[in-house]
Amino acid sequence: MKRIYADLHLCPNLNNERQTARMIRKAAALGYRLIAIPVPLSLTEKKVRWLRNLCEEVGIEFASRIDLKPRTPRELIVNLRRLRRRFEIIAVLCETKQVARQAAKDRRVDLLNFPAINFRRRFFDKAEAELASSGLTAFEIDVKPLIMFEGAARVRLMSNLRKEVAIAQKFRVPTIVSSGVSDELHMRKPRELAALASLFDLKETAALEAVSKNPVAIVKRNREKLSPRFVAPGIRVIRRGKDC
């Protein structure tokens, strides 16, 4: 069966409609069938519909995503309560250890993301992975810094990612490789993202799953949960009526 490739972190400038449209068209041309764009809370419903229609026009699926950047675990919990049912994907950029731990154990969080520049704030260690593996949270890696950085910064990033990916695999935390780019010229084909993942020792099969099976599974699971028929995992409303 043909793989469905997904990029869950495409970051066009949503104020620039022409650039956004170009990036969506390019994603389709590069072979993606599913993309997620972080949507700011201030964005109108009309604009989200425009994004969805544009994706439909070029033959790809659109998933709404929100990137949370809470300063405290409390702030994260409040935001999750408010936003979980509004977005298909919730990613948390963990800037403190407390937030990282809370995000990893909270089943409402889909993706854990860590700052690429500040290596001291990459909190994906064994304890974090253990919490994430029981909380169904995935570890997201953006390839943008790998493309943009050079020299010592890239060497340090690759070294950190190698350790983190090894930990994620040990604890069976799904890894997701996304682009994280905001410029068309930095967009890469899914197989190229997978090839870049070899830089942090992700095997070819695992790398391909990180751009296809893993992200698609998250979106599918969340869509099922957000559907009005959903009752609990494995239980769905099939029919409503007096005879039921």
């Binding site: 390839v143 010229l185 890469r188 197989r191 190229e192």
Partner: protein, 106 residues
Amino acid sequence: MLKKERRRYLALEIDSEETFSSKELMNALWSAVLKLYGEYGASKTGLALIDYNGEKRFAVIRVVHIAVENVRAAIASITKIAEKPTAIHVLNVSGTIKSLYKKLKQ
């Protein structure tokens, strides 16, 4: 006995508004491979330019089959050629030049 080296041919598409000479393209490719894998790693890729059309922004390169993924990663890391913003995408990979062109025509 020495085994015959298996080769792969990669068709590349250069995504840029500018046109480049074959020398500029190869400089960018070698520089990316050297940056990621060093001189030792680069020596194992067997990288060579086979065909280049600057106007169509199309190139064919040859690499050793075990280095395909490494070269693909190096190509994906290219953001500039001759200081001009560019991206290079791999269109197809094949074992012979003939089958590469055949695949591209399909």
